[in-house]
Symmetry: C2
Subunit: 299 residues, 2 copies
Amino acid sequence: MIKNFDLNSYLILKRKNVNAFIDEILNNTANSSRIVQAMHYSLMAGGKRIRPILCMAASEAVGGNADDILPAACAIEMLHTYSLIHDDLPAMDNDDLRRGKPTCHVAFDEATAILAGDALLTLAFRILSSINVIDDNTSSNWLKVIHKLSFAAGYNGMIEGQMRDMASEGSLLSLEKLEDMHSLKTGALIEASIFSGALLGGGSPKQIDQLKIYAKNIGLAFQVADDILNVEGDPAVMGKAAGTDNARGKTTYPSIMGLNKSKEFAKKLIHNALQALDDFDNNSNSLRAIACYIIERER
Amino acid sequence: MIKNFDLNSYLILKRKNVNAFIDEILNNTANSSRIVQAMHYSLMAGGKRIRPILCMAASEAVGGNADDILPAACAIEMLHTYSLIHDDLPAMDNDDLRRGKPTCHVAFDEATAILAGDALLTLAFRILSSINVIDDNTSSNWLKVIHKLSFAAGYNGMIEGQMRDMASEGSLLSLEKLEDMHSLKTGALIEASIFSGALLGGGSPKQIDQLKIYAKNIGLAFQVADDILNVEGDPAVMGKAAGTDNARGKTTYPSIMGLNKSKEFAKKLIHNALQALDDFDNNSNSLRAIACYIIERER
């Protein structure tokens, strides 16, 4: 725990802001089109909002105002949610439940789920380009954010990660290949989220470099912790079944290095992440607290 | 035909430029990842490149240089290609052939096709934000283009059009509902293509307004012509079966107003489009010639 920092209240407040912004953007009502209902359903299905909160916390860490970059934070949550909807599809991971609720293609139908994912991906870029540009410098920074996020989410990042994840099911990966796969599938977007917050918050190149180290470490720790939870987590708390990785023959950190070594590894990564923040002031306490939360969470 | 304008050579040259740029971006080789191969396969499956060419021609019509906006033109082709890959999926239109070749999910597999579509959609925005910004004004114009295209391709445009198209199969639409559906499904992206070219080419607000009228008319004419081709086109030339709309119970212009009235309607739309160009000089001859081509083409 970070002294004098109430992470729980921080997460609740940020989630509230993210949810309010998403609600405003989608303007979901009973009369909304089916596609908007499906988008809203998946966006509001109880996500932890880790990526948008990291984006806002990174902005604060460099002295920025988190509310100013709410559009970027919410666009990132849309990118994340689109990827979940598509990964859950019958042709991919074929998951019926996500966070304890029917997945989008179960609650609606397959065609609607594909299009709702497409629509969220597209909406992310609409939001990122909707900014009332205050000055010319702002405008070029938002272009850089769009570039970073589209790179991270694309065929050199998240999508290639999902391709490798599917290809590897049932075969044993080396530790190196497992790390590459996670770095593409989840690491790239987490890094891009933190980069976006830091750039838009006015971070210096040196600060942005340090935050990249922070991001790399917590991104990997997040995955190691997920793998650990899949072994020993409580299904009732997680809102999803445990033990599924093993049943599917997925290579995980516990399957390669065992449960105890995986926990040590996750702690070491968090230690590295915290070290990268050494030159930052108390404004980065939220980032510090989130790093600890990543390996302590129960879902 | 527009006097002294060789549309055929113009189309060949522009297609060559578009294809070269796409090849360079994707850097497709035998060693490329499966996802890049699938993206390349669908991008190079013989598209007419109408949207990127309209984008470049609109830029020329306002005095811009078409080569300067090749990134925008190619990004638009990627948006179009992604939508074809997803529309062809088993959960949507379930088409095995496109332009005479196996569709992406047939040539690869369903999961790869979903992700290849996602990757093309994402890549479009990466390209649009990759610009070496020359001055601050350029940067804000590219943001505007991203906004326009993401709006047109999203749940208020192309995606809603596909939702309505699927929902309407087997039921008779009114002329008004048919026009709404096409305006969303294909019109919005065609309009955004022309807007993008005109804005990046340095068009005045008045020129952009006139080009919007041009775009609305050719967008609709394009669809009417497609419906006519589906009735009387030569499958060998089109690279796809004829008569499919009727077999699927789709409402089309010929099914509502008959074949002859549909042809008259298409001509009237092209007349309106040409009229919108009255105040433009000879630099808009390519746009004029394309308007005529839209209802004269055989595929």
